[in-house]
Amino acid sequence: MSKNYFIKIFSLGLIFSLYSEASTSQMQSEINDINDRLLNLELRSLARRLDLGGRFHVRYTNLKNEEYENDTNPDKVQNFRMKLDLNLNANLNSNLNFYSTLSMAKSFNESIREGTPLSQAAWRDYIGTVSYEQGPALWVNRAYIDYKIPSTDLSFFIGRLPTIEGPPQHFYEQRERLGTYPLLSYNMILDGLGFDYNTSKYLPKDHELRIRYLYTPTGFVNRASKNKQARTLNPDGSSRKLDSYDNFSTVMIDYKLKKLSWMEEFTFIYHYFYVANQKVNLLGFFDGYSSLRNDFQASSRVQSFYFEFKRLFNLPFDLAIAHAMNREKAKGDLYYEVATNVFSPAGIANGRTSGHGTLISLAYHLPFEFMLNPSFGLEYFRSSKDYLMRDFASDDLTGFKAQMGRYYHVYWFQPTPQGPNLRLGYIQHQRHYNFAASGAVSAGSQQRIREYYVGLSLDF
């Protein structure tokens, strides 16, 4: 082989190794750059543990209220209102989550108001923002820790719990379930703690069964002196200590079955709660309990059954049927000063009462993709005398599901391309009975309320 041949081979080898080194070096530089960017992304992702989202909705309502049959001067009410929910959730590890919702709900530009706002009531904790009377301030409607105990099927939760807007309220705007408690059982915010036991591993695939216990006691706080029990007055004027908490417990069975051949999903919820010996009138028509003479006690038991059929018979409609039964017991009275040192009982109805309510809700999802699959909904609700439902978070202006009577609701939900969603609706309510100030149910009512509404909502 000639010397030139070796020089050429050597030169080529040198050039090739220099080129390879340059390419390797360049590739290494690019890899380092990508590693650096990956690390930055990972850091930003970990540092930003909060998942932020929410909902904003605005509604216009036009309502006509005929207090009695052939009312020649009915009340006509118009109302613009808005609600903002900011959800701040943190998934801290595979077992620990924190959920919170800051909310604002108000009517537009409220200038003159008749009556005392619910925000000042003794039980304002149960209301949060949901009465639309809290002005532009942000309130905490939800704040709780959810902890799945490792190596078990048990979860523990504590805080301000998601006990409002339960099923079937999610039907109205094609959403997923919005709250833990079925709507007819209870629709107020509760603070408390509890356990959820998931028994699904003992069941066949696609069955999910959860058993829950919640303890959400009613609190009596001595704001003047936090190291003392709250007090009230006996009928003779002597002081009586109140226990710090009254028992308020709930048991739930929450069952779901997915992927049936004839239905997308079936849900059944049994819900039972017991409020023991409540020392405040459940209707909350008074405040300043500590200075009011009384020997009043009340207790309540409510149980409800909820059935939901999603895409029944593989058709594009969802059906929900709910039935709630309440039993109330009251004894004792409140005593008002009618003259100097002369007290007279208010005449609160004593004894036992029971009532029930039934709600049927149907949402039909029109299979028109060009219209973005809007929904048409129908609701019917009927309740008996002495039906009692705790409701401060109702979707409509009047809170029809908490009344004793009959109610019809039709609505149209229209998604829009790239915009907020639209809902139009009409509600007609016939009230058969009213609660009197004493808590008793007055005989007969012919009140009729008609409500038209238009709403825009945005989820983000």
């Binding site: 590739m27 690019e30 890899i31 990508i34 960017r37 990956l38 992304l41 990972e42 992702s45 970990l46 998942d51 959800n87 959730n89 998934n91 801290l92 590890n93 595979s94 989550n97 959920y99 939800r142 709780y144 959810d146 979860s155 939760f157 719990l161 998601p162 094609q174 959403r175 997923e176 379930r177 919005l178 709250g179 833990t180 509890g194 356990f195 959820d196 998931n198 959860r210 829950r212 919640l214 929450d254 993709e369 973005l372 699959n373 998604p415 829009t416 391309p417 790239q418 915009g419 989820d459 983000f460």
Partner: protein, 96 residues
């Protein structure tokens, strides 16, 4: 090609770092009805949904691809599934 692969890895990894988020639940649910859908395609479909949250017609390149690949689920079904999964992880029901 290497850059594309590495960038895909970045995207996948950053979502994985979000622990057991709704994305991994969604991936499992989609694979239950559409076994052949790849993990990358499902996660890129999530990107399409997140980029256009008000789009109800699955116009994104990856989500439309996923819909085409899966006979068992259509666009509305996929969006409903996504909504259901987000609902599970929303905290609306205690103990979930």
């Amino acid at each position: 090609m290497l850059k594309k692969m590495l960038f895909s890895f970045i995207v996948i990894f950053s979502y994985s770092v979000f622990a057991d988020s709704y994305i991994s639940v969604f991936q499992k649910e989609v694979n239950d009805v559409c076994a052949k859908a790849s993990s990358i395609l499902i996660k890129k479909s999530v990107l399409d949904i997140l980029k256009s949250p008000t789009d109800k017609s699955c116009k994104g390149p990856f989500i439309s691809n996923l819909v085409d690949q899966c006979d068992a689920i259509d666009c509305q079904g996929l969006l409903r599934l996504f909504s259901q999964v987000k609902g599970i992880t929303s905290g609306n029901i205690v103990g979930r």
